[in-house]
């Protein structure tokens, strides 16, 4: 039984990794052939670094991810703190359901719905470019918000209400009590939410595809336009670099001082990121947990 399970795991992972390994192999191909390996060369990496497009896209992706995750975190933190204090139960569960819509809907529907809104507003105000960096930013904040709130809300709910009250009894103003007492207590949730928002924004293609303007291209959008043209290994080179970066990050966060409490949490955060949609789907539908 033990051997059967080992062999099964090995086979499934092998199949899962063949395309990635083949892609890495061909990124070092001498020719533009993607069917047969003609010899080792770094030609495609040189080509990639020569193109200013790649660097612009990388820069754009980072600018967008940083701003979207920061805005989503600020709005989401305030929302989590505020929603818990709402007295009307119906209103509270309504807010939660609406918040979760972008998480439940297929990405393409979120994308086109926002595109329709932006085009309509753009036409109304007579803007030349109806889609731009700003529409992209708004759409990214929108699909990040539910994940941010999902990671902060349980922290806010679990917090002992008497602690901020004690802070105020001891002379803190409500604002001081929030920044000095409540905020540090919910900080782990805020950090998780922000990381989640950052990675979601980095990775997004579908929603960006419908809401981006011509003047602002992100990395996933660049990859899409590259794959529309003739097959060339420069995409492989770009992908290989991205995969290596991700691998290093994953390994670092999983194995640096694995006995450490902080790292245990970080490992769980990784898993949590992967499970985001699952949890969301259930919370959204039952609507009770958040309500």
């Amino acid at each position: 039984m033990k051997y059967i399970s080992k062999i099964y795991i090995a086979i499934v992972f092998l199949i899962l990794y063949i395309p990635i390994l083949v892609l890495m192999l061909f990124s070092f191909n001498k020719t533009s052939n993607t069917g047969a390996f003609d010899g080792f060369s770094l030609y495609w990496y040189r080509e990639l670094f020569k193109s200013p497009e790649t660097f612009t896209a990388l820069k754009n992706t980072l600018i967008l991810a940083v701003s979207a995750s920061l805005i989503a975190t600020v709005i989401g933190t305030a929302a989590s703190v505020g929603v818990v204090k709402m007295k009307n139960r119906f209103l509270r569960s309504l807010v939660n359901s609406v918040t979760n819509i972008p998480m439940m809907n297929p990405e393409i529907v979120t994308g086109i719905s926002m595109m329709l809104l932006f085009v309509a507003i753009g036409t109304f105000v007579g803007a030349q470019d109806k889609l731009s960096f700003w529409t992209l930013l708004i759409s990214h904040v929108t699909f990040c918000l539910p994940y941010v709130i999902l990671s902060i809300l349980p922290r806010v709910k679990a917090m002992d209400k008497s602690i901020p009250e004690a802070a105020m009894d001891l002379g803190c103003t409500p604002i001081q009590s929030f920044f000095k007492v409540e905020l540090p207590m919910i900080m782990p949730g805020i950090v998780t939410g922000m990381i989640m928002a950052f990675t979601l924004s980095l990775d997004d293609f579908v929603i960006s595809y419908f809401t981006n303007g011509n003047d602002f291209q992100t990395l996933p959008l660049l990859i899409y336009s590259m794959t529309k043209k003739e097959v060339k290994p420069d995409i492989y080179a770009l992908s290989t670099l991205m995969i290596i970066a991700i691998t290093i990050l994953l390994i670092l966060s999983n194995f640096s001082g694995s006995k450490d409490e902080v790292d245990r949490k970080r490992h769980e955060r990784m898993i949590a990121k992967a499970q985001k949609k699952q949890n969301a789907a259930q919370i959204g539908n039952t609507g009770k947990e958040n309500g």
């Binding site: 399970s5 099964y8 795991i9 499934v12 992972f13 899962l16 063949i18 395309p19 990635i20 083949v22 892609l23 069917g35 709005i75 929603v83 204090k85 709402m86 007295k87 807010v95 609406v98 439940m104 297929p106 393409i108 529907v109 086109i112 719905s113 595109m115 809104l117 918000l145 990671s151 809300l153 349980p154 922290r155 949730g189 998780t192 293609f205 419908f210 990395l219 996933p220 990859i223 794959t227 097959v231 995409i235 991700i246 994953l250 999983n254 949490k265 490992h267 898993i271 949590a272 992967a274 499970q275 949609k277 699952q278 949890n279 789907a281 259930q282 919370i283 539908n285 039952t286 947990e289």
Partner: protein, 281 residues
């Protein structure tokens, strides 16, 4: 208590955001579905939908097959991983998450490069004096692409659900005379139901709405709902019919989500949310 209720005003920016960028866009989808390009009320878009019936059915069929295959391969994997040692579990989790963190476009594209007529697979087959195979452009290739791209989303929630099962229950089943197959079917499988439901949702929704996978692995011969919607918005600018198709797809998915969630135990969500926050057990 009265004092704290005042604090709810800080949620205001979020409420405004929800109204402007979640509710308003959906209202626009409904508005466009029921108007023509001049903005006049019409039912033509809705009445034109039967034309797309075949595409809907193909998409539903293919994503159901893909979801089922993911479950079939993914459940045993999740189960085997859950029985490994702690250190192995960590390694397996990284191996499972790495593809998820790799952009979907890249993964699909590399799959296409392998399976293409002049691709890696065929050059190996030719080198071995075997007949080349034609894969890209078939239904099977698109289904395979869906399975390959969304497979980790099936395994992870099932794995989490299995690891949460109280081990004493499994021991009790064995003590009371269950053999391992019975324990699996009567104890482990029902207790991991919430994970299965999440996994199915997480594979089915992106599968049914994809357009990139069918574009690349379908070789332009297949049209799924996602492709149809994408074309109405990006190529033809026929927003009205595109909105109507999206509206129907959204309603279909929301209904199936609601049905699926009836089969899942309700407290799974809050347990999952706690995990997301990194609070752990």
């Amino acid at each position: 208590m009265k004092k704290s209720a005042k604090g709810s005003f800080v949620a205001a920016p979020h409420l405004v955001w929800c109204v402007l960028f979640i509710i308003a866009p959906l209202l626009f989808v409904i508005y466009y579905s029921f108007t023509d390009s001049e903005g006049a009320f019409t039912l033509d878009n809705i009445l034109a939908l039967p034309e797309y019936g075949d595409i809907f059915l193909t998409s539903i069929e293919m994503s159901i097959i893909a979801t089922f295959l993911c479950f079939l391969v993914g459940y045993p994997l999740a189960y085997f991983i859950s029985r490994s040692s702690e250190r192995q579990k960590k390694v397996y989790m990284i191996l499972l998450m790495l593809p998820m963190w790799t952009n979907l476009l890249i993964r699909t594209y590399s799959m296409m490069a392998i399976l293409d007529d002049g691709g890696f697979l065929n050059s190996i087959l030719t080198a071995l004096d075997l007949a080349p195979v034609h894969i890209v452009g078939t239904k099977g290739a698109v289904i395979f692409g869906m399975v390959y791209d969304f497979f980790p989303y099936m395994v992870l929630p099932i794995y989490t659900a299995i690891t949460k099962i109280d081990h004493r229950l499994i021991e009790a089943a064995a003590d009371l005379g269950c053999n391992s197959a019975q324990t699996m079917l009567r104890v482990i499988l029902p207790l991991s139901r919430s994970g299965i439901v999440s996994g199915i949702t997480m594979v089915f929704v992106p599968s049914i709405s994809t357009f990139y996978i069918s574009q690349k692995l379908g070789g332009g011969t297949f049209e799924l709902i996602g492709d149809t919607i994408e074309r109405q918005f990006q190529s033809y600018s026929t927003y009205n019919i595109g909105a109507a198709i999206s509206l129907v797809m959204m309603i279909l998915i929301l209904i199936s989500l609601a049905v699926m969630n009836r089969f899942s135990d309700e407290d799974a969500g809050s347990a999952g949310a706690a995990r997301i926050a990194g609070t752990g057990k």
